[in-house]
């Protein structure tokens, strides 16, 4: 008898361990697994989606494209909807990780401006795999009370005056982009000599850098922790709202223009729900809620029309006229060897 009890106990224990892996079946109309950037959505919109559709959203966040990719490619977790950036979408298409979208299930995508789909052709030829969600530039945010003259260019990040007052991005492409643009090279170069030069510049800059961070640039700049930070344009409005001394500039040497887009994974278990989720996100009122909350530029023209505050609707920060700037580039996927070259240079910078 006692033996039977212990056998049952074991079975129950093992069973409960395995049950944890399969997860719940979600709402009445199933579930959709969403993997998005950190602080990149108004959670109220997720609740509204759940209420309107009866689909439960399992929501997870990542900090950089590079962290997201191995989790998805290893297939350990089967996400349905992901929101990667341009070059990473290209890499995922190359690795056969994405599903062709069925645009008949995405009627709300008409709200997205055509120019953004045209721009997406660079990494998603034919617009088969992705729907733009946010876009912007990478630039410099500075605190006007902590600098002597306006910051206008990447070279200012190498000015010894600002020692221990500079925040750099802690992700390989963004960090190297700054140095490559400083030296006048393409941010997609796979020329070893150019990369080494950019790496040497970053090593030279390292003593001036206070910290290499990603999402924390925002909070540190708001809290007057540093004078200058490299940041995505979408954070500019939010940070200015919190700390009026902050100013965002697109550097003279040129910078990165990026698009983050919704994609569906090749082996998505809930492809139908995934389409519904993306379509919901393209609805003008929902896109507006997300814009108000995360303040990243929306490619949703209908949502932009709904913005009540004229200053923001025509804001040069939120909706810049890109034709005014020189040397703007979008990241492209560099191939496995190119990725390794970048990682190696970045590791040398970090270990210095």
């Amino acid at each position: 008898m006692k033996k039977a009890v212990s056998v049952i106990l074991c079975a129950v224990l093992l069973g409960s361990m395995l049950a944890g892996c399969t997860g719940s079946k979600g709402g009445e109309n199933g579930v959709v697994y969403v993997y998005n950037w950190g602080e990149y959505i108004d959670h109220e919109t997720i609740k509204m989606f759940e209420e309107e559709t009866g689909i439960q959203v399992a929501y997870e966040e990542f900090e950089t494209n590079e962290i997201m990719f191995p989790k998805v490619s290893a297939g350990a977790v089967s996400y349905d909807v992901i929101c990667p950036s341009d070059y990473m979408i290209q890499k995922m298409i190359d690795n056969d990780l994405l599903m062709e979208l069925d645009f008949s299930k995405l009627p709300n995508t008409v709200n997205i401006g055509t120019q953004y789909f045209e721009q997406s052709e660079q990494f998603d030829p034919g617009n088969k795999y992705s729907v733009p969600y946010c876009w912007g530039t990478v630039g410099i945010l500075y605190n006007k009370t902590m600098v002597d003259e306006p910051i206008t260019k990447w070279a200012d990040l190498w000015d010894p005056k600002y020692e221990n007052n500079i925040l750099m991005q802690n992700s390989v492409r963004d960090a190297l982009m700054v140095a490559l643009k400083l030296k006048g090279y393409s941010m997609n170069t796979i020329n070893q000599a150019e990369l080494d030069e950019a790496g040497a510049a970053l090593i030279e800059q390292k003593p001036l850098v206070q910290a290499y961070v990603v999402d924390q640039v925002r909070d540190k700049m708001i809290g007057n922790e540093a004078a200058i930070g490299v940041i995505y344009s979408g954070e500019a409005i939010y940070t200015q709202r919190e700390n009026p001394d902050l100013i965002y500039v697109v550097p003279e040497e040129g910078t990165n223009v990026w698009i983050d887009s919704w994609v569906i994974t090749k082996n998505a278990q809930n492809a139908d729900n995934a389409h519904k989720f993306i379509d919901f996100m393209c609805r003008p009122d929902i896109a507006l809620m997300n814009f108000d909350f995360i303040t990243y530029s929306t490619p949703n023209d209908a949502a932009r029309e709904l913005i009540e505050d004229e200053d923001i609707r025509n804001s040069e920060i939120a909706f810049p006229d890109l034709s005014k700037y020189n040397n703007l580039e979008t990241y492209s996927y560099l191939g496995e060897e190119g990725d390794e070259m970048y990682n190696e240079v970045w590791k040398q910078v970090k270990s210095e």
Partner: protein, 273 residues
Amino acid sequence: MKSNRIRLLAGPYLAWAIAFIIIPLVMVFYYGLTDKNGMFTFDNVLAIARPEHIKSLWIALLLALISTIICILLAYPLAMILVNMKGNSDKFIVLIFILPMWMNFLLRTMAWQTLLENDGVINSILKFMHLPTLTLINTPYAIIFGMIYNFLPFMVLPLYNVLKKIDPNVINAARDLGANSVQTFLHITLPLSVPGIISGITMVFVPSLTTFVVSDLLGGSKILLIGNVIEQEFTSNSNWHLGSGLSIVLMIFIVISMIVTAIFDKDGEGNAL
């Protein structure tokens, strides 16, 4: 019959050990000793000799060593004070030491970020008192500080346990026979507490050596420890082979410290947790 039943009770633990210790270990060795095409190679392990890797290993060893030494110097007197306390108050103080460990490790480290920042709590107080401010965050000192703060309880508890078990009669006998307090300490207390010291060293040194969170949060990612290198290989560089190869090297250090513990702490006296 009876032994069979007892063995069955161990079943869940066995399943646990296989699923979360044996299989991951086998996978680390598999990835560490193969290349991208699945061919056997030692390259990933030997990659530790590359300048950027060996440098991060040295820094990690140095910082772990410093924080371990400081932990001993802080924890030993404290453990002695605790043991000599009257009544049950020592148990209360030990509880106070364990209490923060109920909170998440990450949160506690992030709290130190706010304290040490340039415009943080400590510097605000200094400013208020018209004293010059200090650069605390994003320095190697902040990393050592974070290690000591997080791992000090792991040094205090084994020392406390082992000191508590020393028979007071032994110490009284030494004093009766004419030894002064310094001699008593050097010849009686210290040798008897070696198992606790060794166990404390392992429990502070190993997590300090392998940490990557502390250096990321308090070091501003400016100092690359071997733990950061491995974490990067697994996450952003998605090179699991190199990450596993470097993990094997790190495992050698962990195994060495486990052997040392086993030699000095045969009865498991120092095991507090």
